[in-house]
């Protein structure tokens, strides 16, 4: 096995590890909001690892993988935020020690006039 293959396989293992941990986190963590931390962040890192591994194993796809990773990293938080916001406006109570947003829980999602 060449060095390139070893590095690529290590990256892919890292990606698989974090994807699995992300799934484990969704099961272990106590409520919607904490679960989003696991699915949003850890799984994104897992995906980035898989893309990096692919880029090393198939060098002709490097730029494509870089662009894909960038799109993933920019859009993943949007999905987490949308789910968290929707859950909050539905009135799902977080297991929280402190909640500065309590006055808005269960109110309809605000319609914002964007620029």
């Amino acid at each position: 096995m060449s060095l390139q293959e070893i590095i690529g396989i290590v990256f892919i293992f890292i990606g698989v590890f974090f994807s699995a941990i992300g799934t484990l986190g969704v099961i272990r963590l106590p409520d919607v909001y904490t679960r989003l931390h696991a699915s949003g962040k850890v799984s994104t890192l897992g995906l980035v690892g898989l893309l990096a591994g692919t880029a090393v194993l198939m060098p002709q796809t490097t730029i494509k993988m870089l662009v894909l990773a960038l799109f993933m990293v920019i859009t993943a938080p949007v999905a987490s935020h949308a789910i968290a916001s929707a859950a909050y406006h539905l009135g799902i109570k977080p297991k929280a020690q402190r909640d500065d947003l309590a006055h808005r829980r269960g109110t309809p999602t605000p319609v914002v006039n964007g620029e």
């Binding site: 974090f18 941990i21 484990l24 986190g25 272990r28 963590l29 106590p30 409520d31 909001y33 904490t34 989003l36 931390h37 696991a38 949003g40 962040k41 850890v42 994104t44 890192l45 897992g46 980035v48 002709q60 796809t61 730029i63 494509k64 870089l66 662009v67 990773a69 960038l70 990293v73 920019i74 938080p77 949007v78 987490s80 935020h81 968290a84 916001s85 909050y88 977080p94 297991k95 929280a96 020690q97 402190r98 909640d99 500065d100 947003l101 808005r104 964007g114 620029e115």
Partner: protein, 166 residues
């Protein structure tokens, strides 16, 4: 108009990279589509000025590198919590000021995006009074550190949209 012709160049390059065809046809297609998209979008919230573009691009590259570093750090941090027996959880929602006097929608969106990628924090809601409501895995920690981090982030974001340049 002329500035769109310049901004379409990197977009055409990205198109060539994604389609994996570095040919004249692929460039022409990407370039035409980019100019049409830019004309349709009219990105007004970002300053478009020849003098500002080098600094804006530098700031954007720094921002993207930091984004990737944040993804790795926060992934490892949350993994540590998931794998520890009691998960060391002190969850809660804290209000964090954006410190953004101009209330620029690009700045708010990018702030919320990068806060969601910092370790253990997730934006639940933003409000018109320049507050972001952040769900944190460790409330006290976040309430202490996040406002400072946001202040530091803001100057970089102002450089990206070219606020100082205007």
């Amino acid at each position: 108009m002329l500035i769109y012709a310049f901004l379409a160049l990197p977009l055409a390059a990205i198109w060539m990279a994604i389609s994996n065809q570095i040919t004249v046809q692929s460039f022409t297609l990407g370039y035409t589509a980019s100019i049409l998209t830019l004309t349709a979008m009219q990105p007004r919230v970002v300053t478009l000025d020849w003098r500002c573009i080098p600094d804006q691009i530098t700031a954007l590259v720094i921002y993207i590198v930091r984004l990737f570093v944040d993804v790795v750090l926060s992934g490892i941090e949350v993994t540590g919590r998931i794998l520890s027996p009691d998960m060391r959880l002190k969850p809660g929602i804290v209000a964090i000021p954006t410190y953004d006097g101009t209330a620029n929608s690009v700045v708010i969106a990018l702030s919320a995006n990068s806060i969601t990628l910092t370790p253990g924090e997730l934006v639940v809601e933003t409000e018109h009074n320049n507050l972001m409501y952040v769900h944190a895995l460790d409330v006290e920690d976040s309430a202490q550190n996040a406002p400072g981090e946001q202040k530091a982030r803001l100057s970089l974001l102002y450089r990206i949209i070219g606020e100082d340049c205007r």
